[in-house]
């Protein structure tokens, strides 16, 4: 059976992370250390695009540059007034906007309001942000239109023409932020649409879903767990979406795993998902 695990970059992430040493509990992270922490976001207002940052255990990390919300965006950006869960691997790349970059990074903004996270902006201090989406009008077609035309968010095609010709089973997942059932735009929207197109192309007789509940081992040893209602809510929402875009509801079966996936550090975020298996 063909198995495609999430985005190809995520598949790589599993392998890479597994090979790395974990530094849970370490005070000063070193290159290749895995870090996971909950903190308030910081924003550095550079002359071009602002940089999202985070400070933890005395280290300032660079998370990413403001990207907007189009087919080009690659990450779900945090919010002031909300804490965020940051998971990633300390990079050996040069600092950006004064912060240490993280590889294989995943940021989840947490749903509850945290007024203490209405933090002051970091001063520019001469830092320059990486190039990104311009702040004013776009130079070319807006992302929304490209989303309508093809794969978005850098998501690869989930299947090939040969997969359709051979009517192969398809296994992939929809990924979520920690403790969230929000279908991320555009990446996960596009995967849902590709799923529907594949189901129709091969005349699939069944879609099996398994909704997972994640936990996360934080640097320092604390474990946080997604709410018990989250996996069912993710499952319900994705079924609602699939039906709306034309997937027959009667071919969908589902299972909710209420027991949290064990928190082990690297790769914890991969459990924030609904597995989907298309049966020809």
């Amino acid at each position: 059976m063909m198995k495609r695990t999430l985005l190809s970059s995520r598949a790589t992430r599993v392998i890479v992370i597994a090979a790395m040493g974990s530094s849970l509990g370490a005070a000063t992270p070193k290159t290749n250390d895995y870090v996971a922490f909950v903190t308030c976001p910081l924003l550095r207002d550079t002359p071009e695009l602002p940089c999202w940052m985070a400070r933890y255990n005395g280290t300032l990390y660079y998370l990413g540059v403001q990207e907007g919300r189009s087919h080009l965006n690659t990450w779900y950006q945090p919010q002031m007034k909300h804490k965020m869960l940051v998971q990633g691997v300390v990079s050996n790349r040069p600092t950006v906007c004064g912060g240490v970059p993280l590889d294989h990074m995943f940021v989840s903004d947490l749903p509850e309001v945290s007024p203490e996270c209405d933090t002051k902006m970091l001063p520019t201090q001469g830092f320059v942000s990486p190039k990104g989406r311009p702040l004013g009008p776009d130079p070319g077609p807006v992302g929304g239109e490209q989303v309508l035309r093809g794969p978005a968010g850098g998501a690869p095609e989930l299947y090939t023409k040969d997969d359709i010709a051979q009517r192969r089973p398809l296994h992939f997942d929809i990924h979520y932020n920690f403790n969230s059932d929000f279908l991320i735009f555009p990446q996960e929207h596009n995967r849902a649409i590709q799923l529907k197109e594949y189901v129709q192309a091969i005349g699939a007789r069944q879609i099996r879903m398994t909704a997972h509940r994640a936990s996360a081992l934080l640097t320092g040893g604390k474990v946080i767990v997604e709410d018990a209602t989250i996996p069912a809510s993710r499952r319900d929402n994705i079924i609602t979406v699939l039906k709306a875009i034309g997937v027959p509801g009667e071919i969908i079966t589902s299972e909710v795993l209420a027991t949290p996936e064990p928190a082990k550090g690297p790769g914890d975020q991969l459990a924030q998902r609904v597995d989907i298996e298309v049966v020809p």
Binding site: P78, L135, P137, E145
Partner: protein, 532 residues
């Protein structure tokens, strides 16, 4: 071909004409008699071109029955110049037309509250002038929603203060909310009336504890024009999933289409057809359902009428050859819509380079240059958009550094087709301007509900907005943003009328988002908005 016959749409001296019709009407039951309407019609024709009263230019009131036609093109004075009203299909006879003639028992027509001279909305200036002329029995002041509450003495000005002072109509919404099929939704929050200056929300007949529990909020009528650039009928399956909710968009129960809900502030109605029926019964006392012919006439009318400022006191003629092609009623022609226009090669109001005078030689050119600078602020000047529910909480980050046009992005209308429900703080505390004339509600969300992303689970608001339809905590205070055309003709602004004029509107954004606008930038923005 634009018909510039403005004869029948001249301007009348406030108090000089309608008083005849008003006096005749006041003798009767409150519904203007045919004789009163006829008298008004004759009188209007007799004083064409008259000056407005007391320095305030008030466009002539369009009566529900005493005007015989809506011309193909007409102009109406306002404080900034003249508004153009273009009807693509030519003259429209009033008699029997479902938008222009009364449908129900209270003498109102759609046009009563969507006045051509007010950009198919309505302004406080027009309402006050009309109150002076026609008095409380005029259909626009009907008890059902043209007064603060139907239980109040209708002959008192104070009973109509929200309409006369803020151009707000009462909008009753059922509690608990109902979905599009009429089924009750279990809301994620409880609602408590903290302040009830109109008395309606605690009234035994009309309030939240009545036999038919209702919450009254007070809102501005939306512009019923330029609808080709407002409504969207995108059936592409890739557009089915709402990019703000991650869930399917609302579905029109009649057509099955997934829709954007741009029509009302709270998206209560999915289609112009449903809204037409709801307005006929809710505002006009119509009983039953409109016929297919009437609905088609209404749909056609809404799609063929355009409003925009066509003359600026400062800039001169707007639109047409030699001027910015996106402005004026002529600018709507030959432009497809609606489409996003947040890009250099397709700007929201097209290019305004024709008015970018490096060395202005005349006062008109000075003003035109100011308009272009204002457009630059609107289109290009970034600021931090912060704590806007249903916008900065959906993955782009809070705050989000961008320009006005990121939300007002649809070409030629400036509406948002995402759709544009969001909470910018007009209704919800702490950002809302003090509004002791409006009700104040305390909403407490259930612990299991997703909270409002910036206000949490206890929220004070004068209008819960979309939450009164969806029942969702995170939608409290969410309001569909409005189009930007004909602003000069329809003060006050925002759904709750909290900005009494364009400078106040600009000041709100400047304060709310710490834009740090200079005095010149403020003036430029006002000038830009005044020519739309």
């Amino acid at each position: 071909m634009v018909d510039r016959r403005s004869g029948l749409f001249g301007f009348v001296a406030v108090g000089a004409v309608r008083s005849v019709a008003g006096r005749l009407a006041r003798r009767g039951s409150g519904v203007p008699s045919r004789a009163a309407m006829l008298a008004g019609s004759i009188a209007v024709v007799a004083v064409l071109g008259g000056a407005a009263a007391a320095g305030t230019k008030v466009p002539r009131w369009f009566g529900a029955s005493y005007d015989d036609r809506l011309p193909a093109y007409s102009q109406f004075d306002n404080a900034f110049g003249k508004l153009g009203v273009l009807n693509e299909s030519g003259d429209v006879p009033t008699k029997g037309h479902p938008f222009l003639a009364p449908l129900g028992a209270n003498g109102r027509a759609c046009v009563t509250c969507h006045q051509p001279g007010n950009a198919m909305s309505i302004s406080t200036d027009s309402l006050r002038a009309h109150w002076q002329q026609a008095g409380f029995r005029d259909p626009v002041f009907a008890a059902i929603d043209g007064s603060n509450c139907p239980n109040l003495p209708q002959d008192k000005r104070a009973s109509h203060s929200l309409l006369l002072d803020h151009a707000l109509f009462r909008v009753p919404r059922p509690w608990p909310p109902r979905d599009l099929s009429g089924k009750a939704i279990e809301p994620e929050f409880s609602i408590e009336v903290v302040r009830d200056p109109t008395g309606c929300n605690l009234d035994r007949k009309y309030g939240i504890k009545s036999a038919d529990p209702t919450i009254s909020v007070y809102r501005r009528p939306r512009v019923v024009a330029n609808m080709r650039f407002v409504t969207s009928d995108d059936t592409n399956p890739r557009a089915v999933i709402g990019n703000k909710t991650g869930l399917p968009r609302a579905q029109d129960p009649e057509t099955g289409k997934f829709i954007y809900l741009p029509l009302l502030a709270d998206g209560a109605q999915p289609s112009t057809r449903r809204q037409s029926n709801a307005a006929a019964t809710g505002h006009q006392g119509f009983v039953g359902k409109l016929s297919a012919d009437q609905l088609k006439q209404l749909d056609d009318f809404m799609m063929q009428i355009y409003v925009a400022q066509d003359y600026s006191n400062g800039a001169g003629r707007i639109g047409g050859p030699g001027g910015p092609q996106g402005l004026g009623t002529a600018g709507f022609k030959d432009t497809p819509g609606p489409r996003s226009a947040m890009r250099e090669d397709r700007q929201v109001f097209k290019t305004m380079e024709e008015w970018r005078h490096k060395t202005p030689k005349t006062p008109a050119e000075e003003f035109q240059a100011s308009v272009v600078r204002g457009y630059d602020v609107f289109f290009r000047r970034p600021f931090f958009i912060k704590d806007v529910a249903n916008f900065t909480d959906i993955g782009m980050g809070n705050p989000y550094k961008r320009t006005c046009a990121i939300c007002h992005n649809v070409q030629l209308s400036g509406i948002d087709n995402a759709p544009g429900f969001m909470d910018i703080g007009v209704e919800n505390q702490p950002w809302a301007d003090p509004a002791p004339h409006l009700p104040l509600f305390k909403l407490t969300c259930k612990p299991t509900a997703k909270p409002h992303p910036y206000l949490g689970r206890v929220i004070y608001t004068s209008d819960p907005g979309r939450a009164l339809i969806s029942g969702r905590c995170m939608d409290i205070g969410n309001i569909n943003l409005s189009q930007l055309r004909g602003l000069a003709a329809r003060a006050p602004y925002f759904t709750n009328g909290s900005a009494k004029d364009l400078p106040t509107l600009v000041d709100f954004y400047n304060r709310r988002f710490a834009m740090k606008l200079s005095p010149r930038e403020k003036t430029d923005l006002v000038n830009f908005l005044s020519v739309l």
